[in-house]
């Protein structure tokens, strides 16, 4: 691999070319959002930053949609969903990893069913349920179908399994009750699994669109993705591509920044979430 033979060089060149193509939409987003509005015209697609950067596009984007409210609603949805999920998946994950009970395998399969029948496919009946529960047009209505997570349970089960039983046995010898065991010993040790699940959960709910679009009707309860969609349609008809780029940047920036700062943690989470 380390010898510079022609085939290896060709492979590196091909990969670099693929990655270059991959980078262009986001590169354009950054450049176009700082481009002066009367600048460009037919050269709007240029990836060459030959202008003095301006914040005019951001100012206009912030004016045409209530971004602080959208951020707040999205934060509430992500945090609320994750808080409930962490409780449900930790408890169930522990039960599947450590306890013995009749029908365990069958129950586990019944849980795993949700990996296939993910909430988006059940939007029609779930909307009926949400309406009956009086949760229509509320943020809790957006969160509720995700409070149980088969994926999270699976992940926590795997995590608890990697923790040696010696820790638990030592705690039992010291006279700890089972719930002291869970909260004082197992949960701290399982933190990597919880962080991994947390990152995956927040990313997916930050980005969710179709379900909130169905549940939310009033502008006060809109999340970022819904706000961006309606904002984009307005700006598109006016051909304000710089404003669209700036709005998209605003929606994507928190996750992209978090990723840039905690890259190793993010990557480990996504990896951990899949293969273990």
């Amino acid at each position: 691999m380390r010898r510079a033979n022609p085939a290896a060089l060709l492979a590196v060149a091909a990969l670099s070319a693929v990655v270059l193509v991959w980078s262009t939409p986001l590169l354009w987003m950054v450049i176009a959002s700082f481009r002066p509005q009367n600048f460009g015209g037919l050269d709007m697609a240029s990836l060459w930053p030959d202008f003095t950067p301006t914040l005019a596009n951001f100012a206009e984007a912030l004016e045409s949609a209530d971004f602080p409210l959208l951020y707040l609603n999205t934060l509430i949805v992500c945090a609320g969903t994750l808080a409930v999920q962490l409780a449900t998946v930790t408890l169930a994950g522990y039960a599947f990893a450590r306890l013995r009970f009749p029908g365990k395998e069958l129950v586990f399969y019944a849980f795993l069913l949700q990996l296939m029948l993910v909430p988006p496919i059940l939007i029609v009946p779930n909307l009926v349920t949400i309406v009956r529960l009086g949760l229509y047009d509320s943020l809790v209505g957006v969160m509720a179908p995700y409070f149980a997570s088969a994926f999270g349970v699976f992940l926590m089960r795997q995590t608890f399994r990697t923790i040696p039983k010696d820790f638990e046995e030592a705690a039992i010898v010291d006279g700890a009750t089972w719930w002291q065991l869970v909260w004082r010993v197992l949960v701290p040790l399982a933190r990597p699994g919880m962080i991994a699940f947390g990152i995956v959960s927040v990313v997916s709910h930050w980005n969710e669109f179709l379900w909130p679009l169905m549940v939310i009707s009033s502008p006060d309860n809109q999340t970022l993705t819904i706000g961006l969609a309606s904002f984009t349609m307005g700006a598109e008809s006016a051909s304000q591509w710089g404003v669209i780029a700036a709005g998209t940047f605003l929606v994507a920036a928190p996750l992209l920044t978090a990723f840039a700062l905690f890259q190793r943690q993010f990557v480990n989470s996504f990896l951990f979430s899949g293969v273990k």
Binding site: W22, L122, P125, V251
Partner: protein
Amino acid sequence: MVAEVDSSIDTVFPSRSVGRPASRKRSEAGRAALLLLPSVVFLAAFTYWPIGQVLLQSITIEVFGVEATTFGIGNFERLLADPSFGRALVNNLIYAVGTILPSVAIALALAVGLQDATRFNATLRTIVFFPVLLPLVAAAALFLFVFLPGIGLLDYHLAKLGAGNTSWLGNPDLALWSLIGLTVWKNAGYYMLFFLAGLQAIPLDLYEAARIEGAGSWARFRRITLPLLGPTMAFVLVIAFVNVITQVDHVVVLTKGGPSDSTNLLLFYIYQQAHENYDYGKAAAATVLSVAGLLALSFLSLRTLERGIHYEA
């Protein structure tokens, strides 16, 4: 994934219950029930109940202005008679194959090519991973401009190679492929991560041994990397499959299923029937068929892959 769970459920923790008092066992079962309860409540409300609900709804016939409802297969008949549904089904198949094959192939190539932990590779991996973190709606907003005829990102740069204006989203023969391009761009980085992790689990001595035997890099890839990535491949294919069924945000933003149903996908069709036409019977019938298809196809694909893995290993 299901297969993996099946094989590990009893082997990892050999039975400890030999000689354990019955009362201890009972209390353990009670504790388990308590710990599982919160998850079971929410699963029941938002996974099991809706399946029953949608089955019932799909065979319920409601006539506007008539109080009483009757039961029958009328919703399914109307659904199958709707050309838009047939179109959505075919589109979804094309979309599935057209999206999954290239994104998995590119992800695998990138993972193998960028697996060494150099700073250069890490930068390239980050660039490919960025789209994964972007909301699909945001990606769609960007691709409005990418696909813009004439002055958009794609046409502007293709023009330098001599290509003309292309109506990427307006041409019924092209629109679905444009959405496929967007999806491949968005998802390949995600699948790449799983392959990178799978590659780390392959012992390096295997490659050493193969090299000593004189195997070239292609042979090493074919005979070692690919077979040992089998479980990862199965996992990635399942995720990719669920993704092509459950993610239609870009359809909502970019094409609304058009032009002339050429980009209508199953879930968007369901959304349209329920949310725009208020035809819940038809939406429920379509959901039932999608759920059945999703379950059947995923079990089938798992079976096939499982056999492949056993054969190779």
